[in-house]
Structure formats: C-alpha cells, structure tokens
Amino acid sequence: MTTFIVNGQKVDVDLDPRESLLDVLHGRLQLFGTKKGCDHGQCGACTVHLDGRRVVSCLTMAVQADEREVRTIEDVAAEDGTLHPLQQAFIDNDAMQCGYCTPGQIMSGLACIAEGHTGGDDEIREHMSGNLCRCGAYVGIVAAIRQAAGQTATRQTGA
C-alpha cells in the first residue's frame, strides 16, 4: 500500500509499480485537472508539485511518491472558489486558448515565482520552457507570471 498526501488529504492506494503518478491522479483519484500531453516528459502538461517542487507527473513513478506531498491544480484556488492571483492573471492576460496546457502552466508558474526566477521576461521564458503551449499563448503566459510575481512581491514587502 502506498500513501500520498494529495492536496492535504491522506490517500492510500494499492499500486502496480508500472503506474505513473499522472495516471494515478487522473485515473484513480479522479483529479482531472492534471493533463496528459506527451506522457514522456516533453510537454509539461502534467506538472504537479512533489514536496513543494515542480515535477512532471508522467515520469514520476507513483511508488516513488510514497509518503510524499502532492499538490495539483485542484488545490490552487481558495475553498470558496476565489481564484489564486496567478489564475486570475492568466484570465487577465489572455494566457490560454484551448486551455489544455493551462493547469501545467499554472503549477509550473507558481513554482517559477516561488523559485524567484521572474527577474525579467527572458528569465521567465527560460524557467517556463518545460511547458509547451501549442496554441502559442506564450506572450500572455509570460505577462501573467510577471503580473502575479509582482503581486506576490508587493504582498511580501507589505506595501
């Protein structure tokens, strides 16, 4: 039996070691926000946080997440449905078209901001390069992360 903490909830799952974390989240735990794009670590659509760090869940063997904390897109908005500033920034900046890559973009963007890699658009692009958007909404995605990073910085400095 493997035990994860998924979005703050303890979950016990009887795993086949062949299962990816992505397949367990999506197929077993009904967390449909995390998306399967390439399933080979090339597109970033399946990005989640594992013990606070962004990883691709398609190349994470589920058994390797035993006793670790997994955070998915379902945990990002407040319980009352209020969007996280980064989610709102994606809407404000038209940072999506079809939306399939968006959960991965937002999980990656949250980490990018937390890591402090938002010093400029070039730095954001470099550290968001693991998330592909086939609609080509990159300009909006960079703007959304820049906007949310600014808000986070403002809040942290108490201004």
Partner: protein, 333 residues
C-alpha cells in the same frame, strides 16, 4: 510495460545487497527521467528496480573543501545548478546543468543518473527500427535514415548515436571522477574512463558494472573553473538537446596568453568528447578570433558527417570558438 519488482532500500549498503539479490538485468532507479521514459517505450525492460532516489546519504553537496567539489550522486540537477559556490567558482558546471532539460526534470533527475542518460537517437527510442545499441546485431537504421541529430565524432559502422548529456561534458573537461560502490567494494573511475565509444559493441556505453552505484562525483578545483562556460547551441533557445556544445575553461597570463585550457564537446560525438588537440592549439598563444577558430578546426579535425548532419561540423567549430571568447572574458576579469 513489462512487469518488474520494485524495492526501496533505506541505505546504500542495503541497495547494494538488493541489486545483488535481484539478479541479472536489475537496475538502480534514481530520478527515473530516462529509465521510466524508456520503459514506457519498451526500450528498457528491467525485471527489477532498486530505488535509490530517496537515500539522503547520496544527496550531499560539499563545496567547502580546498581541493575538490563533491556532489553526492543523488543530488538533484536543479540543486547543483543553483549552488552559489558552483555558480561563482565553476560557471561551466552550473550552466551545463541549467541549460539541460526543464526545471521540472532538473528537480527530478540526479547528477549521477545524468551521467548515464541514454541517447535520444530516434531509431534507438522506437522499437520498430533495427538498432545495434538496443538490439545488438540488428543493424543501424540511423545510417540510412534522418541522421540530422547524429554524431560526427567517435562513430562506427555499427552506431552513430549522439551522447545527449551536457553536465558530463563539463565534468570531462575538468578531469572529474566518480566513486562507485558495488558488491565487490568501492572504486574510482575517471570521467575519461567512464564512457565508451560504440565500436562494434554500441550496447556497451560505459565501464560500470550493472550492480555498481555512483556514490559521488568529485571535481578538482582549478583556476580555470572561474574562466569557464558551457555554450550550448540548440534548435530552440531553451529545453532542447545540443546540436553542438562546448565546455571550455581557461586561464590567461598577465600578458594575455592562454596558460591552462580545457575543451570538451557535446552534441556531436558518441560520448562526452575531450578535444585535447584544440586545447594545444591555443595554449601559449593569445586568444584571438584566429586562434579560437584554429581551436575549433582542431577539435573537429577527425569528424565524419552523414547525409543530413554536415552542418554540425561547422557549427561545432564556431561553438568552440565562441565558448573560448566567453571563457576568455571571464578569465580576464
């Protein structure tokens, strides 16, 4: 995917016992970014995995010693790339890591696992094609295929697969070594002796035994570390494998002549490729456009292209020359 047994030992000693007990074909599992990927493709089919990804004793980064930087084999690529001492004293190491993969993958992949990353040759990754590396004796589909990404140095009749890594190229340039442990005890292998050219046996890629685990990577400190860079040229600016790359480090005399010089190439060879003739081409001479170009020419002197990858030869020469200029600027600060 073929079924396999999975164990997660709680110490290095237990891991070594576990791999011996698991029998032939068992593999160590670290970040899984190569191994699990290739298992999904049916290229890797291990009957047993021994998970070493959570052994805390493997994750130490020690930059406080006066003679070597020491990186535990299980340290994550992202952590070594961001280490402030590494960034200051050895930019080539940090750059080779953060210019590889994506931040997600760098958070997962370990610095030891990265040494043994397998080729991205599309004919190796797709089991419908013959591939001497995947299936010895079956042939090489890349030779008659789209060989744009394939190697121009160190190739053989049997295999032209490019070694895909960046970090090991930087480590080779700076004479790093790995300490490994297995059922027969510990030993040290230099980076120069770690990887193999394909020759007639492209399925043999390195000199470690299947039951040996990389404990740590040691990089000797040298003044050329500060005057160093990893220049990587790709089809897109980020998150792509190298078409050509160069790890370069050097020191200059007060008169501006190259004193120490280290050059290794990635993206163009079947293994991490030290270019000693290129080093000799600039040592004792001032660093100019002419001498930098001469180093590039020397580095690629033995190159052989196929149908679609001739461009890599000129690209790699210029990459060496540009990396020398960047390293030269850093060395003269």
């Amino acid at each position: 995917m073929r079924a396999f047994s999975y164990t997660a030992p709680s110490s290095v000693a237990e891991a070594v016992e576990a791999i011996a007990a698991a029998g032939g074909g068992a593999k160590f599992l670290a970040g899984g970014t190569t191994l699990f990927d290739l298992m999904k493709l049916g290229v890797e089919r291990p009957p047993a995995l021994v998970d070493v990804s959570r052994l805390a004793e493997l994750t130490t980064i020690d930059t406080s010693r006066g003679d070597h930087l020491v990186f535990g084999g299980g340290a994550r690529m992202a952590d070594v790339a961001a280490d402030p001492v590494v960034r200051r004293d050895y930019p080539v190491l940090s750059e080779s890591l953060w210019r590889a993969a994506s931040q997600q993958l760098r958070n997962m992949a370990t610095v030891a696992g990265n040494l043994l990353q397998r080729t991205r040759c599309p004919y190796f990754r797709e089991t419908a094609y013959p591939c001497n590396k995947r299936e010895p004796g079956s042939g090489c589909a890349a030779r008659e295929g789209i060989d744009r990404g394939n190697a121009v140095l160190g190739t053989s009749e049997a295999c032209i697969a490019t070694y895909p890594g960046d970090w090991p190229v930087a480590l080779l340039a700076f004479d790093a070594a790995v300490d490994v442990v297995g059922p027969r005890g510990e030993r040290t292998v230099t980076l120069a002796d770690l990887h193999l050219e394909p020759g007639d046996t492209p399925h043999r890629e390195h000199t470690l035994a299947p039951d040996e685990l990389i404990l740590r990577i040691r990089v000797p400190l040298t003044p050329a570390g500060r005057g160093s860079t990893y220049l990587k040229i790709r089809d897109r600016e980020s998150y792509a494998f190298a078409l050509a790359s160069a790890a370069v480090g050097l020191t200059l005399t007060a008169g501006g002549q190259v004193q120490e010089c280290r050059i290794a190439l990635g993206g163009v060879a079947t293994r991490p490729w030290r270019a000693r003739s290129a080093e000799q081409a600039v040592i004792g001479r001032p660093l100019t456009d002419e001498t930098a170009r001469a180093a590039g020419e020397a580095a690629l002197a033995g190159a052989h292209a196929g149908a679609h990858n001739t461009f890599k030869i000129e690209l790699a020469k210029r990459t060496v020359a540009d990396a020398l200029r960047i390293a030269g600027e850093r060395a003269s600060r």
